[in-house]
């Protein structure tokens, strides 16, 4: 009886996960989708606690421990998620992802212990191949996901620096191969319990070294990949307990996460392989020559001229980029928008899908400063509007307005759709120097006749602009 109700709970769980994910991929239903999946998860968890029975018909005990764990995890999780600053959310996701991986790895450790006991008691070491294999694979992938996520988390909050040496890729593969070999050996002879810890350590090492050399800016892609790893780890748990909700939920995330990782790469016009083992074809340092070298000529504009231009414009389009986020200038930027509005100037924001360092970065950033959602326009629409703008103000964006993506087939970003700012009458670019952005390449836009440069830290420059415009 109870087991039947539990089956239904799990069925509901699986369906809500699918529906939730589906709704999450549509802006209109995304928030509800998250709640739907959360509701299904709650049903599956409560069902397990109260209705689960093993083959002999015994229910679970240790309820105090279980609820204790749930309470502790729940409180910490909620607080952490509520307190974290908007722009630090990817770090948080990485951290939570690591917890899931660790959870999967711990389950494997405990379950193997059980099995060892059993083997010692009965003296039979055969017939366990399937179970041992699942345990070992779950351990490997859970540990990789845990270690990798921790490194990604450290990189995003600046605690871990990029680190690579020649032959690292080969060393990585050797670690992975050793872990797999140890797993194979364990399957053949499950009495060698120490091998499990060998696997554990090797997998952790692999996870660390796998993420170490990848640039901090690529972490969102890496987190998405590790996310799908943890999904697969959860699926192994499903195999182990013959538990359908773990199995389906895990596979679902494994598949969706893999696709999502590829979609993210595609939005940046790169391949996954390129993200994982080479930075823009490995010629990053080569292409990243300083400004001026190009020998071109660029115009500077003074603060007062810039504020004049803005005050007397009819329509200003602001293009925010990574630099705005770094300078934490979103609040002053909103301030400027309000001052211009008071002067009767229309202001909108042009949001490129990969501006910043994570998908939706600019949306999150500007939302934090209370910029109204209607003023944010996506690339396709706004590209139609540039021609009606008197002025485009580029704040710490670079690659997303680089015309080379359109004109220069040799450029590493060739083919990426860009914001076509040159359709506007005037373009003002704010950045600190002529240095290139993420892709490490020159930007011709800065040398075009329509463009004027306004050097300085975004926050500082915007504050000065606000002050100036008020006096106009």
């Amino acid at each position: 009886m109870e087991i039947n109700i539990l089956t239904i709970c799990y069925l509901i769980g699986s369906i809500t996960f699918i529906l939730g994910l589906k709704m999450l991929s549509n802006p209109a239903t995304a928030r509800k989708g998250n709640l739907v999946a959360a509701a299904g998860m709650t049903i599956a968890i409560l069902g397990t606690i109260f209705l689960y029975t093993d083959e002999a018909g015994n229910g679970l005990h240790n309820h105090l421990w279980i609820f204790g764990g749930l309470a502790i995890g729940g409180v910490i999780g909620t607080l952490a998620a509520k307190k974290v600053k908007m722009t630090a959310m990817p770090e948080m996701v990485s951290l939570f992802n690591g917890m899931g991986g660790a959870c999967a790895a711990l389950i494997s450790l405990v379950e193997f212990n059980h099995l060892s006991h059993e083997i010692q008691l009965t003296g039979i070491s055969g017939g366990h191949e399937g179970k041992v294999l699942i345990i070992a694979l779950g351990l490997i992938i859970g540990s990789v996901s845990f270690a990798g996520s921790m490194i990604a988390w450290g990189k995003l909050n600046g605690k871990v620096k990029d680190f690579s040496f020649t032959g690292q890729n080969i060393l990585n593969l050797i670690f992975l191969a050793l872990a797999l070999a140890a797993a194979a050996w364990l399957v053949i002879d499950p009495t060698q319990a120490y091998l499990l810890y060998v696997i554990f350590v090797l997998s952790l090492l692999y996870g660390v070294l796998f993420v170490m050399p990848i640039g901090g800016a690529d972490m969102p892609v890496v987190i998405s990949l590790l996310n799908s790893f943890t999904g697969v780890a959860a699926a192994f748990g499903g195999f182990l307990y013959d538990n359908k909700v773990m199995l389906t939920g895990g596979i679902l995330v494994g598949a969706a996460g893999t696709l999502l990782t590829m979609l993210m790469c595609k939005a940046m016009n790169r391949s996954l392989k390129n993200v994982l083992i080479g930075s823009f074809g490995g010629n990053k340092t080569g292409a990243a020559h300083d400004g001026g070298e190009q020998g071109g000529h660029y115009k500077e504009i003074t603060l007062s001229d810039a504020s004049m231009l803005m005050s007397y414009a009819n329509k200003v389009i602001i293009v925010p980029g990574y630099g705005l986020a770094v300078a934490q200038a979103q609040h002053v930027c909103h301030e400027l928008e309000k001052i211009l509005n008071e002067k009767g100037v229309e202001v909108i924001y042009a949001i490129h899908p990969v501006a910043g360092r994570m998908p939706g970065h600019m949306n999150v950033l500007l939302a934090e400063a209370d910029v109204s959602y209607e003023k944010l326009q996506e690339m396709e629409q706004v590209n139609e509007e540039f021609k009606t703008a008197d002025l485009v103000l580029i704040l710490g964006a670079n690659d997303v307005v680089n015309p080379a993506a359109k004109n220069d087939p040799a450029s590493p970003i060739y083919g990426m759709p860009i914001l076509e700012v040159e359709l506007a009458k005037n373009v003002i670019v704010n950045k600190r120097s002529m240095k290139p952005g993420y892709a490490g390449i020159e930007n011709d836009l800065f040398y075009r006749p329509k463009t004027s440069m306004l050097f300085g830290d975004a926050k500082k420059v915007l504050q000065d602009l606000c002050a100036e415009i008020k006096t106009v």
């Binding site: 994910l21 999450l24 991929s25 802006p27 995304a30 928030r31 998250n34 999946a37 959360a38 998860m41 599956a44 397990t48 689960y52 679970l60 240790n62 309820h63 764990g69 749930l70 502790i72 999780g77 909620t78 998620a81 908007m86 959310m89 948080m92 996701v93 939570f96 899931g100 660790a102 959870c103 999967a104 711990l106 389950i107 405990v110 969102p220 998405s224 996310n227 943890t230 999904g231 780890a233 959860a234 748990g237 182990l240 538990n243 773990m246 939920g249 895990g250 596979i251 679902l252 494994g254 598949a255 969706a256 979609l263 939005a267 990969v354 998908p359 939706g360 970065h361 999150v364 996506e378």
Partner: protein
Amino acid sequence: MLNWITANQQIIYIVILMIFVGIEVIGRVPSVLHTPLMSGANAIHGVVIIGAIIVMGQAETDNFLALILGFLAVILGTLNVVGGFVVTDRMLEMFKKKK
């Protein structure tokens, strides 16, 4: 190996179909939702907590290793689930249209 396929064909079907579902279901996601979607999927794989609960609930009361590791696993799994859903909700809050 071949026998294993027939014996487990239903599971194999479930896995394959689930892969199709996972891929199709998010195929149309606009890029601004990539981050919340990743975060939501992250919360869903927290379903691994169920394994932790089973481990915990079956641990003999004198097996301290199992108790402690299981307890830790429950905490970590809960962090994944609860933190994951809450952080996703906060992200999505910012995408709602303010009218």
